[in-house]
């Protein structure tokens, strides 16, 4: 391979060499693999921080009554837990995977805009530093829930809300620039012959996710800006006394918020769509329908937002429209689940850690989809809304959905990243502990929710005591298990059996055509994909067909 820059006779650049030494490598890097690794580590740190807040929540809820923390602090914990998990753990993990894998999957030398890429990453620690620092400010940190409904977040908010708003702005800039980079990379840097319909689904789902991000992150910026103006400059967007409306907040927020939940799941759909075929040793069933289903989900996600607001008082036609539109999402989602199951059907399956997480993903995400359908029934939602049933729903789509998707991806690609095989026994232990832990933690929440236990509350009726204790035990188990994951990853980075270029015999795709660990620079000269056969469609194909 020849170096990119030398051809232009520009001195000072030498891409034959590996990374720079020391801290400057990380601060100044323009390398998609370095940036991908930083995103992934950042995400894991946020996962542990957000997770420890969840531990505080579950410790307080272990028994009814107030034991450990004050209600004010409890509210800060639920708020920060949600914000950190959504914006700090799940989203950056997917951006990290995108950074590492998209150039490798489409045969590109790097991301399209490498400096912007570095900027997108470093904004995150800045934003989260600012956000977490609010906990130590006078009056405490944000205590109004991760959905920060006005007027709780305006009229009645602690002073630190101003910094919360700016932190959201920074995260938004980071996400938008990251998404622009992903789109430009996919649309412009594919190797010759890598047509759109030959792209691996992970690339497809990220393309659509990036579009969603660019469409809705600015709306989030808009809504926090309105808050800022209401708080500091006397506007009345969310105050009916001036002719505004607090419900306006909810509309604008959920116009962002619902697509946001799909931003957190679509990349996982894509990753699982690579992993299941690999361990079933069969091509993905229904590639084309997967692409269209993803598009349909993205489209629908713009017209369902008011299902979060059924009880707030919207006109009857609104209730009906949003109810039916929401139910429609079950159709493309069903297509996907059907395709995953059909891919496994009569495959020669093996259950290494990535596959275990992927199969659990399919089953448990579907449970979350079903509780979603129950919530979509407007008259029924009057009963469930703001109860633990909603908490159960979204944890089933997010933990075994988004998070398991990330774990599956991590195990699947760790050999490529580190050049070593991870410890399969420990990884299986990680899976089973996580699986049991999360089901123990979240399944009982369905029952207490249906029985009427409200969400975001530090104390509860005696009758919910048993289930809550089970939940807490499960949560502690799930939480502790993640330290095991940290151990497995570090162990894998430091050593272990050498990984071949393609450690999984059933795996397909360009990423397996480069050595493990992937060299610092890959595909500086793009591979030619035009020879790849039609039956390899959607697998990303192989270099030598």
């Amino acid at each position: 391979m020849s170096a990119v820059i030398d051809d232009h006779g520009h001195a000072g650049h030498d891409h034959h060499h590996g990374p720079a030494k020391g801290l400057s490598r990380w601060l100044l890097t323009t390398n998609h693999k370095d940036i991908g690794s930083m995103y992934l580590w950042f995400s894991f740190a946020a996962f542990l921080l957000g997770g420890s807040m969840a531990m505080v929540i579950r410790a307080e809820l272990f028994q009814p009554g107030l034991q450990i923390v004050q209600p004010e602090f409890f509210n800060q914990m639920t708020t920060m837990h949600g914000l950190i998990m959504v914006f700090g753990a799940v989203m950056p993990a997917f951006v990290g995977l995108a950074n590492w894998m998209i150039p490798l999957m489409i045969g590109a030398p790097d991301m399209a805009l490498p400096r912007v890429n570095n900027f997108s990453f470093w904004l995150l620690p800045a934003a989260f530093g600012l956000l977490v620092s609010t906990l130590f400010m006078e009056g405490g940190g944000p205590n109004f829930g991760w959905t920060f409904y006005a007027p709780l977040s305006t009229t009645y908010a602690p002073e630190s809300v101003t910094f919360f708003i700016f932190a959201i702005h920074l995260m938004g800039i980071s996400s938008i620039m990251g998404a622009i980079n992903v789109i430009a990379t996919i649309l412009n840097l594919r190797a010759p012959g890598m047509t759109l319909m030959k792209m691996p689904l992970f690339v497809w789902t990220w393309l659509i996710t990036a579009f969603l991000l660019i469409a809705v992150m600015p709306v989030l910026a808009g809504v926090v800006t309105m808050m800022l103006m209401d708080i500091h400059f006397g506007t009345s967007f969310f105050s009916a006394a001036g002719g505004g409306d607090p419900v306006l907040f909810q509309h604008v927020f959920w116009f962002f918020g619902h697509p946001e939940v799909y931003i957190m799941i679509l990349p996982a759909f894509g990753a699982v769509s690579s992993i299941i075929p690999a361990f079933s040793r069969k091509p993905l069933f229904g590639y084309t329908s997967m692409v269209y289903a993803t598009g349909a989900i993205a489209f629908l996600s713009f017209i369902v937002w008011s299902h979060h607001m059924f009880t707030v008082g919207i006109p009857l036609v609104g209730e009906l429209f949003f109810m039916y539109a929401t139910m429609l999402i079950a159709v493309p989602t069903g297509v996907k689940v059907f395709n995953w199951v059909s891919t496994m059907w009569r495959g020669s399956l093996s259950f290494e850690a990535p596959m275990l997480f992927a199969v659990a993903f399919v089953i448990l995400f579907t449970i979350g989809g079903f509780s979603g359908l129950m919530l979509a029934i407007a008259p029924a939602d009057f009963q469930y809304h703001d109860t633990y049933f909603v908490v159960a729903h979204f944890h089933y789509v997010l933990v075994p959905g988004a998070i398991f998707g990330i774990f599956a991806s991590a195990y699947y690609w760790l050999p490529k990243w580190t050049g070593h095989m991870y410890d399969e026994t420990l990884a299986k232990l990680h899976f089973w502990m996580s699986f049991v832990g999360m089901n123990l933690a979240f399944f009982p929440m369905h029952f207490v929710g249906l029985a009427g236990m409200p969400r975001r509350i530090p104390d509860y009726n005696m009758m919910f005591a048993n289930f809550n204790m089970v939940s807490s035990v499960g949560a502690f188990m799930f939480g502790a298990t993640q330290l095991l994951f940290l151990f497995i990853v570090i162990k894998c980075i430091r050593g272990g059996p050498a990984a071949p270029a393609k450690p999984w015999d059933g795996a397909e795709g360009l990423e397996w055509s480069v050595p493990s660990p992937a060299p610092y620079h890959t595909f500086q000269t793009p591979p030619d994909m035009s020879e790849v056969h039609e039956h390899r469609k959607g697998t990303g194909g192989e270099l030598t067909p």
Partner: protein, 298 residues
């Protein structure tokens, strides 16, 4: 492996200090702003906010010069292939799309208030029951009475569309034409006409801004139309204010382009910097048309 014939090689820049400087600059800026706002609100006599903000803003300006300067240098050194050019085009297009969505949030708020929440508060329609909050409150648009005038004193009047706003429309629309004229000149390598067209565009933009300021002064001092005068003032100033900020940004960008042109930059074939600035300017123009129709006329 050599496919240079089918694919050019892509420029991957070396390590760069600008992103991290940009991060620090933005963080300092927003931290300063936040401190400033909070101190103002709490009536604290002394605030370190303005100073921190000022330092941050300087850093931002330094970063912009440095980063864009580096890109300009690389471009003029011929490092960018046609493929790189396409990355910039995609990048700019999607950035503009994100800006469209930012404005969409505020337009959406305006429509929601005007067609739903406002009438409901006045007792009309599906959720007219909201009228029990302020019985007797009557809704109209422009909103010349607020439900609680003590908190939000209503404006005495609003800006007519057919005065300054109409002139401003003419100014901005003509500026889009002069800019296109300049662009054609650049393609035909008529540098004189290019300079003239671009200078005219910047002047028209500046005139627009001056009139906009005049309109604001008029609104604040004579009409009592302020940010705090209820939802009409809120939506009016947020929409026109963000638009004005974008015009300012656009005018600065075009001025930079003018300076670059005076220094002999850009060729009839390669001038994406200029084109990106032009896209941005046309986008700002389109937003104004929407503003003129939905904020001033209707």
């Amino acid at each position: 492996m050599s496919q240079q014939t089918t694919h050019e090689q892509y420029y991957v820049p070396d390590q760069s200090k600008w992103p991290i400087i940009a991060t620090v600059a933005l963080l300092v800026t927003v931290y300063g702003l936040g401190t400033w706002f909070n101190d103002l609100k709490a009536d604290r006599a002394e605030s370190s906010g303005p100073l921190i903000f000022f330092v941050g803003a300087l850093l931002v300006a330094y970063m912009m010069f440095g980063w864009f300067g580096a890109v300009v240098k690389e471009s003029r050194a011929g490092l960018y292939s046609a493929q790189m050019d396409r990355s910039f085009r995609w990048g700019m297009s999607w950035f503009i799309f994100s800006e469209v969505m930012f404005f969409a949030a505020f337009f959406g708020a305006l429509f929601y208030i005007r067609y739903w929440a406002g009438p409901w508060l006045g007792g009309e329609g599906d959720k007219g029951i909201s009228n029990m909050l302020w019985p007797g409150f009557e809704y109209s648009w422009p909103l010349l009475n607020t439900p609680d005038p003590k908190l939000y004193p209503a404006p005495e009047g609003t800006i007519s569309a057919w005065g300054l706003p109409l002139i401003n429309t003419v100014l901005l629309v003509s500026s889009s034409f002069t800019l296109t004229w300049a662009h054609h000149a650049l393609r035909k390598n008529n540098r004189q006409q290019l300079k003239l067209g671009l200078a005219l565009t910047v002047l028209l933009g500046a005139a627009f801004l001056i009139l906009q300021i005049e309109e604001y002064v008029h609104a604040y001092t004579e009409l009592g139309l302020t940010l705090g005068s209820g939802i009409y003032g809120a939506t009016f100033f947020m929409l026109t204010g963000f638009h004005g900020a974008h015009v300012t940004m656009g005018a600065i960008i075009l001025t930079v382009m003018l300076v670059r042109i005076l220094r002999g930059h850009f060729s009839p074939e390669h001038h994406f910097g200029f084109e990106a600035a032009a896209w941005y300017w046309h986008f700002v123009d389109v937003v104004w048309i929407a503003l003129f129709v939905f904020v001033y006329v209707l």
